[in-house]
Amino acid sequence: MRYTSERSTDPGLLVLTSLAEGPKHGYAITHDVEQLAGVRLGPGTLYGALARLESNGLIEALPAEDRRRPYRLTGKGSAALSEQLQALEYVARSGLARLRVAKALQ
């Protein structure tokens, strides 16, 4: 059974992770997140997350290209993403270590 925690599928975190690679517009973010995490963000969820992130100053919009508008990480967004990923990494490392200990004791 595959278990996906809510934290690792948080749309905001996924969008920030996608933008860590460079500026992207809505379609490119959706496609990248699907490849990266196997999560298909609906248009409502995606733009809800983009609006929240932009409102908090974590991302900024670049000039529109036709009907699409690319977004990029701000310095604050980069720092917030790094902090979130380090917290997730700590949890992942601790969890794996505990599993190894439990397996050795069996």
Partner: protein
């Protein structure tokens, strides 16, 4: 079909959200396959955008347009609420319910309260809409596109009135007094036609409101009436909840009777469903009113907006 539905649901997003992200969202919808899940996702997120609007969008729309969006939002919610209210009236209009209301104070009191509030709210809707309608009609004499917009609700109401008259004629020509499947289907068709007519009226009046320059005082009058209507909706939803509970406790036999156009549910289930629609419409109206209130409390020097 789902793509068209998804595009329509985009119209349910708050005005500021649509102005900022609408075009990008439409572009994304054009580029990706649209499924039922997409429609559900957009519906859920449109509601969330109304309940928790991002702070950065506060300055996207000017004060006049925010007041317009607030009043037309309350009007749309009132139409949905009134449809549920009509369902409540049809469910509880028969003499056994009146007798139960006479013998149980809570039932009779809640029913009377709903009726009084419905009349007050309807008067407030008319009072708020009248100055704006006069302005729109006056301007429509010179503006062809506006003439088209103001004639749409009139045409929709005329078609609906014609359909209602036709169904009344057919109903009177049937001798049976018992509910039949054909009668139930006819009622559903009539209800859907009423909703379509209401949707045309709301959308056309909203478009017209945004197309006409209106003095700030008239928008404030409409907003104040909208706030009254919102308060009345909240009070009516509470009274309906009291009525529903009281009916189940004091007149459980009536509450268990079959109900609905096809007699598919019980009276209590119908009332709970209607109450859910009322609460949803009331919550959205309260959100629109709160947003309008923020615009009112902001200083503005312009007269015509």
């Amino acid at each position: 079909m789902t793509r068209r539905l998804a595009q329509l649901i985009l119209l349910c997003y708050p005005l500021a959200f649509r102005r900022r992200y609408g075009e990008e969202m439409r572009a994304l919808l054009d580029e990706t396959p649209t499924r039922a899940a997409t429609v559900l996702d957009l519906s859920r997120c449109a509601l969330a955008a109304h309940l928790h609007p991002p702070a950065s969008l506060a300055d996207v729309v000017n004060i006049g347009d925010r007041l317009r969006a607030s009043t037309s939002g309350v009007l749309a919610c009132w139409v949905a609420f009134a449809a549920a209210g009509f369902g409540f009236y049809k469910t509880t209009e028969d003499s056994p319910y009146q007798s139960a209301g006479n013998s149980h104070l809570l039932l009779g009191g809640a029913h009377l309260t709903i009726q009084i509030l419905a009349i007050l709210a309807s008067v407030a809707v008319l009072a708020g809409a009248l100055p704006l309608s006069v302005l729109a009609l006056h301007r429509a004499r010179r503006q062809r596109s506006l003439r088209m917009l103001v004639s749409l609700p009139i045409a929709a109401v005329a078609v609906f009135a014609g359909l209602t008259g036709l169904l009344i004629l057919v109903a009177h020509s049937q001798p049976s007094q018992h509910p039949s499947t054909a009668g139930g289907v006819a009622f559903i068709v009539w209800g859907l036609a009423g909703l379509a007519c209401s949707a045309v009226c709301v959308l056309a009046s909203r478009r017209a409101l945004f197309a006409v320059p209106v003095a700030r005082r008239w928008l404030l009058v409409a907003f104040a009436c909208g706030a009254l209507v919102t308060a009345a909706m909240a009070a009516m939803a509470i009274a309906t909840a009291i009525y529903t509970i009281a009916l189940s406790v004091d007149a459980s036999a009536l509450a268990a009777e079959p109900n609905g156009p096809l007699q598919a549910t019980s009276v209590s289930v119908s009332l709970v469903l209607l109450l859910v629609v009322m609460i949803l419409a009331g919550t959205l109206a309260a959100t629109a009113t709160r947003r309008g209130w923020r615009s009112v409390t902001q200083p503005d020097t312009s007269e015509a907006i």
